[in-house]
């Protein structure tokens, strides 16, 4: 579905529309009711000059050029809330919003923060601008060694695709270490790509940089196709989404599961390891790309419920109505921009919801989230004691040493 830039010779709106119609189910756009459910449910709809419904209206009127001059599209966190509610099954996030970002990017309308993340992704293979050689540096803290598949030169059962934030972000790294510890304890045969791993590229794609996504996908596919393994497991829902839904369209088909699905299968082995654990109320936050986009709602909840002492509670928005943490669609790289436009931060909104249900722990299953929510918790009154933990951290904490 590589849709290239609009040729200058034809009116922008007509070309844009045509490109949408080529995307699977894109023709549904013609059936839009202008019900505005999309714009209403959109967490940043209030701060957009062109929320999705209006974009379609202006497109119909043939005057969508105006949108290119606005930076409205950069408010979209690609959360799929609009897609979820649309009565006409219009692929709003996948087609309309993402294509609009691609056009803004081609027109050179790119916020500076996002630009540097994209440049870093090109130069280093990760949006944080960290050395690619240090991609496996997090594993030095472990008391056992994780095979780097290329060096180990042997087949492994599980190819663990670690991902960007899970590899480099000091907070997310703790989750990565917890998962490694658990896999090791369970005696799973696994390996990583280490310095050969590139960003999965999904967030760059959702931020409108399709070409960069394809380039990164090609690089990963080349490395992975040289490895022998049974399946890919990842803790990163964005990587999971890329491998599951996007890479196959480029001809790269690898079996993949999110770690929560994988661990549920191993619950029988994990349960006996649990020790006495304190009591706590846990609110689980569904990451957009695990929940709404890929419909994995139960696996993480099953894991939490299996941990002794933990009581699973739900926040006002949960499962298919979950609220985005704000990191999607390039949100990790648009924090300042979005704050300036909206003076609100979705992560803070979400933390307030956790406080409202008296949660002791806000549980997550995506490496973007612990830093975002911990950060937000510092700013919210009442959240002083709220802990943010990835599900796998809860498991490893309950197992102890």
């Amino acid at each position: 579905m590589a849709v290239n830039g609009i040729q200058q010779s034809l009116p922008f709106t007509a070309q844009f529309k045509e490109s949408l119609l080529k995307i699977p189910e894109g023709e549904n756009i013609q059936a839009c009711l202008q019900c505005a459910c999309c714009s209403g449910v959109c967490p940043f709809g209030f701060a957009m000059d062109f929320p999705p419904g209006r974009m379609i209206a202006w497109m119909r009127a043939g005057i969508l050029d105006e949108m290119l001059k606005s930076d409205s599209v950069w408010m979209c966190v690609s959360c799929y809330a609009c897609t979820e509610v649309c009565p006409k099954d219009i692929p709003i996030t996948l087609a309309l919003m993402t294509r609009a970002k691609e056009e803004a990017l081609l027109a050179g309308n790119v916020p500076a923060e996002l630009q540097s993340a994209l440049e870093f992704s090109q130069q280093y293979g990760n949006p944080l601008g960290e050395s690619s050689r240090k991609r496996a540096a997090w594993s030095e803290e472990l008391d056992f060694e994780i095979p780097i598949i290329r060096k180990a030169k042997r087949p492994v059962d599980i190819l663990w695709f670690v991902g960007d934030y899970a590899s480099y972000h000091p907070r997310s790294k703790n989750v990565t270490i917890a998962f490694a510890t658990l896999l090791n304890k369970l005696g799973i045969d696994f390996g990583i790509l280490g310095p050969d791993e590139f960003s999965d590229g999904d967030s760059q794609r959702l931020a409108g940089e399709r070409g960069l996504f394809e380039m990164l996908a090609e690089k990963n596919a080349k490395v992975i196709s040289r490895c022998e393994f049974t399946e890919i497991i990842t803790t990163d829902p964005h990587a999971y989404n890329a491998f599951k839904n996007e890479y196959p369209q480029l001809g790269f088909d690898f079996p993949v599961r999110h770690y929560t699905e994988f661990l549920v299968e191993h619950l029988d082995e994990i349960t006996p390891l649990f020790k006495e654990n304190g009591k706590a109320k846990v609110a689980y936050h569904d990451p957009c790309y695990l929940g709404r986009v890929n419909k994995i709602y139960d696996a993480p909840r099953q894991l939490i419920e299996a941990i002794p002492g933990l009581e699973l509670i739900e926040m006002a928005h949960n499962k298919s109505t979950s609220l985005c943490c704000g990191g999607g669609g390039g949100g990790m790289w648009l924090d300042g921009f979005r704050w300036e436009k909206s003076e609100s931060r979705l992560s803070e909104w979400r933390v307030k919801e956790a406080v409202a249900v008296n949660a002791d722990i806000l549980a997550v299953a995506c490496p973007y989230e612990p830093p975002r929510f911990e950060d937000a918790a510092k700013a919210i009154t009442g959240a002083e004691k709220l802990q943010v933990k990835d599900v796998v951290e809860l498991i490893v904490d309950a197992i102890g040493n």
Partner: protein
């Protein structure tokens, strides 16, 4: 039409840890990752801005290095017209003077109105390229420029003087200018546009000829500075710590 030449160099990427070669007098190339010299990137942007403002032909010349083609195609996607790669540069870093001599020959053929390049490159030990180039081309040179407008036979440019003072300079053309920052930050071009350029644009190869690597200065040793992995903690009560801090500021020449 105004002719602008930009020299763009790749330099060691400081995000990566640098290593010293076994000779002890050079960087270990196996460990080097290269990245465009940031000032050169600004020079490219400034050239494109001038082209967009009043029309110009922009030629980019780069000494060969790993990744230089990608860098050149990226400049084409931004709007550069001609791409030249200097081949046969070799592993050992040539002196800037001899690099300037080679570049000057090529630049003379183009007969430009303006030659832009980054004011410095962080790995330059044998002088700065831009002013050397200016001397060989018998053109005036001004460095630390952050803004240019072209007039009849002259350029008006803004140069940084010490103390953050800006000076308006009038420079007779043709001239070489050392760019510190472009008027707008270097733009982003979508990878799809760069990939398009890879299929359509062409890079002209030019042989660098014989490059001198010995400047006459003897390098005894290259080494990494000692860096502590944690802050040196200043101990004592508030008054004592304050006076220690002041001593440090004085040592650093900041007070």
């Amino acid at each position: 039409m105004t002719e602008i030449v930009v020299i763009a160099r790749l330099v060691p990427d400081l995000v990566e840890e640098l290593e010293i070669a076994t000779s002890g007098t050079a960087l270990d190339l196996a460990w080097l990752r290269l990245i465009i010299n940031e000032f050169d990137n600004h020079a490219i942007e400034q050239a494109i801005i001038l082209k967009e403002r009043s029309g110009a032909t922009v030629t980019i010349i780069s000494p060969e290095a790993e990744g230089v083609e990608d860098m050149l195609f990226t400049t084409a996607a931004k709007g550069a017209d001609k791409l030249i790669k200097l081949t046969g540069v070799g592993e050992e870093k040539p002196t800037n003077l001899s690099m300037a001599q080679t570049l000057a020959e090529i630049i003379k053929e183009i007969n430009p109105d303006l030659v832009l390049t980054g004011v410095q490159a962080h790995d330059d030990f044998t002088g700065d390229l831009a002013p050397q180039l200016a001397d060989l081309l018998d053109m005036p040179y001004v460095g630390y420029i952050s803004g240019i407008s072209l007039g009849d036979g002259k350029a008006t440019a803004y140069k940084e003087y010490p103390g953050g003072i800006l000076a308006e300079m009038e420079i007779a053309l043709p001239a070489v200018l050392g760019i510190q920052s472009s008027e707008e930050p270097p733009r982003y071009v979508a990878i799809s546009k760069v990939r398009q350029m890879m299929n359509t644009a062409s890079i002209e190869d030019r042989d660098a000829g014989v490059l001198e690597t010995d400047s006459g200065v003897v390098i005894d040793r290259m080494y990494l500075p000692e860096v502590a992995d944690r802050a040196e903690m200043l101990e004592g009560d508030e008054e004592e710590v304050a006076s220690k801090l002041i001593a440090i500021l004085q040592d650093l020449g900041l007070l």
